[in-house]
């Protein structure tokens, strides 16, 4: 008996989303790599879209998330000025202030996001849609990155001009590599935390809060992390923000006597590379696992748990 039955004639439209004739439901579920890729790319752009559009519709963020955080960074600049610190330290604060934009983006708009999505009733739609959860999270990252990059750029540029920070960069390529690897590992960590926060339920909100000041401290946001001794070493080996900042500080203020990196920047690049692979790999495993839990037990998508 033929499984094709009375299948409709083949559609002429070349689009992976329209009906295509198949021999069986199992065959229909078998997607070619191109179709998988296109679907996931569309997922990324689809998930990034509301974030970008939402940002452009709510103009208040320009004041609250660009202007005011610059003033917060300025407060730490004036702490160093009150202490008559060498000018490099003002540069450390400006660099740290710029990088917090990415940490906040990872924590608020990624790690806590799956939990919000559950609350809003979107999570079950994500799980039932034929797409990778990593693409959804990547879409969130791409959408939020626009805002974070703008905030970081504003803090960096205005801070540099306003406070007369002088950067001394010898290795631009390495600095850029460190920056992009820091972002990659941060967003990998964000994906891991997103799954963990989803499993922890209501604690997600509080964990996001909890992971701000302590992480800023152990990452050496405003001072060289090497000064923290063993705590700094521990941070360097686990938190991408700590290792990325330490490497960027050494590369952006080359030759300064105050940078005191915990490790040479070349080694820190390798650490970041390992972190990226580990976090992204772990995120993949965890996302698969929560997807399975959601499908088998149906509890992950229940609101109010």
């Amino acid at each position: 008996m033929s499984t094709t039955g009375d299948a409709a004639p083949a559609a002429t439209v070349r689009n992976p989303y329209v009906y295509r004739p198949t021999r069986s439901p199992a065959d229909a579920a078998r997607w070619d790599p191109r179709r998988v890729l296109v679907t996931n790319l569309r997922t990324i752009s689809g998930r990034a879209y509301p974030r970008v559009i939402g940002t452009s519709r709510e103009k208040s963020w320009l004041f609250f998330e660009i202007m005011l955080p610059f003033l917060t960074t300025s407060a730490f600049v004036f702490v160093y000025r009150a202490l008559q610190a060498p000018p490099e330290f003002v540069g450390f604060v400006v660099l740290g202030g710029a990088m917090t934009a990415f940490w906040l983006n990872v924590m608020w708009l990624m790690a806590a996001q799956l939990y919000w999505e559950k609350d809003q009733g979107n999570l079950e739609i994500y799980f039932t849609a034929p797409m990778s959860m990593m693409s959804v999270l990547l879409g969130m990252a791409v959408g939020g990155l626009l805002m974070s990059c703008f905030r970081a750029a504003v803090v960096l540029v205005i801070g540099t001009v306003f406070y007369g920070v002088v950067f001394a960069v010898d290795q631009w390529a390495l600095l850029l590599a460190v920056f992009f690897l820091t972002l990659a590992s941060l967003y990998g960590l964000g994906m891991v935390l997103a799954t963990l926060f989803l499993l922890w339920g209501r604690e997600a909100w509080h964990m996001t809060q909890l992971l701000q000041e302590p992480v800023y401290f152990v990452s050496g946001l405003n001072f060289p992390v090497g000064r923290l001794g063993m705590l700094g070493v521990l941070a360097i080996s686990t938190i991408p923000l700590a290792v990325g900042l330490d490497a960027m500080r050494q590369l952006a203020f080359a030759g300064s006597a105050f940078t005191q990196g915990a490790l040479p920047p070349e080694v820190e690049v390798l650490v970041l590379l390992v972190m990226t692979v580990v976090f992204v790999g772990l995120a993949r495993v965890l996302l698969k696992s929560i997807e399975r839990l959601a499908r088998q037990e149906g509890r992950l998508t229940m609101r109010g748990s």
Binding site: G54, F64, T72, L83, H206, R227
Partner: protein, 316 residues
């Protein structure tokens, strides 16, 4: 009928539109207490006491540690004790500000976006303002808890010298009372702002508190700031609150407002403000901020009602 009314459940009386002044006050007090209790439970019942303790103190303690470490790095471990005490006290007290400013705004966002109760609260017989204040107070209490622990750690581990016999209790109580009113008023302004914005305003209260951190002399004297920033600081109640509380707890501490080259010294010809003077200015600035907060809130409430923002669910 009279017997029935008297024997009826309390909500029957609370919904009575013909309540007298005392009845209204009683109802408002009941609503405030319920909201404060709810706020406390929302904040506290998600974790066991140990985790909640860590959560409550982590932010202020690590905030203080960042600043103390900056101080130690620059001084090479030989930081001026007076300045270290100044930094620890300022960052400990800041915990109240973070809790107060964020508390009311977060209540609006959580009740609207997450629990989706804001519209029901709004149409209930209680004034939403009273309910928000109740929710905000719970966070201020948690902030106060963080402040006390940070201060205690500063005294025990960071060498902040504290003599309980030298505390000016009257100044402390009056300054704390007025300061908390000012903080809640600022929180109300933030709540009015978040009533108009979408869900992603979670970070707005923290951004505002961070910006205020620059101009109020929390962790460095105002005299290092440009004149215009010093002027902004002098008209902010938090500056005078911090000054008065610092002076009440540690009479010999460095002044954040006065000192050589400060705008205060230029305007008044005196080096540092006295405790009574700080209280008076705190009272005046708190009155202005409170009136502004109530006006802003009423405007925001009216606009939210007109535009249907009380049941707005957003996401991005």
């Amino acid at each position: 009928m009279t017997a029935l009314t008297e024997a009826g459940p309390s909500w029957t009386r609370s919904a009575d539109p013909h309540l007298g002044r005392r009845g209204e006050l009683r109802q408002a007090w009941r609503a405030f207490r319920t909201a404060a209790r709810l706020g406390w439970q929302t904040e506290a019942n998600w974790a066991d006491p140990l985790l909640f303790f860590i959560y409550s103190v982590a932010k202020p303690v690590f905030g203080a540690l960042i600043l103390v470490f900056m101080l130690e790095v620059i001084s090479g471990g030989r930081a001026d004790q007076a300045f270290r005490a100044f930094v620890v006290i300022g960052s400990a007290l800041w915990s109240f500000v973070m809790g107060g400013i964020a508390g009311l705004a977060m209540s609006v966002l959580e009740d609207r976006e997450r629990y989706r109760m804001l519209k029901y609260l709004y149409v209930s017989p209680n004034d939403l303002l009273v309910l928000l204040l109740g929710r905000g107070v719970a966070r201020v209490v948690i902030g106060g808890f963080g402040a006390v622990v940070t201060l205690a750690l500063g005294i025990i581990f960071l060498g902040v010298e504290f003599d309980v016999a030298r505390v000016d209790w009257l100044l402390l109580v009056l300054a704390m009372g007025l300061g908390l009113v000012a903080i809640l008023a600022m929180g109300l302004i933030m709540a009015s702002v978040t009533m108009q914005t979408r869900q992603d305003a979670w970070q707005y209260p923290e951004a505002v508190a961070g910006a205020l951190f620059l101009v109020v002399g929390a962790v460095f004297p105002l005299s290092v700031l440009p004149t215009i920033a010093q002027a902004a600081g002098l008209v902010t109640p938090l500056t005078w609150w911090l000054e008065a509380v610092r002076r009440a707890l540690f009479p010999d501490i460095v002044s954040a407002i006065g000192g050589p080259g400060s705008l205060f010294a230029q305007l008044t010809g005196r080096s540092v403000p006295g405790g009574g003077e700080s209280l008076l200015v705190l009272l005046a600035t708190t009155a202005v901020v409170t009136l502004a907060a109530v006006a802003t809130y009423r405007w925001s409430e009216r606009r939210a009602k007109e535009r249907g923002l009380f049941d707005l669910i957003t996401g991005s």
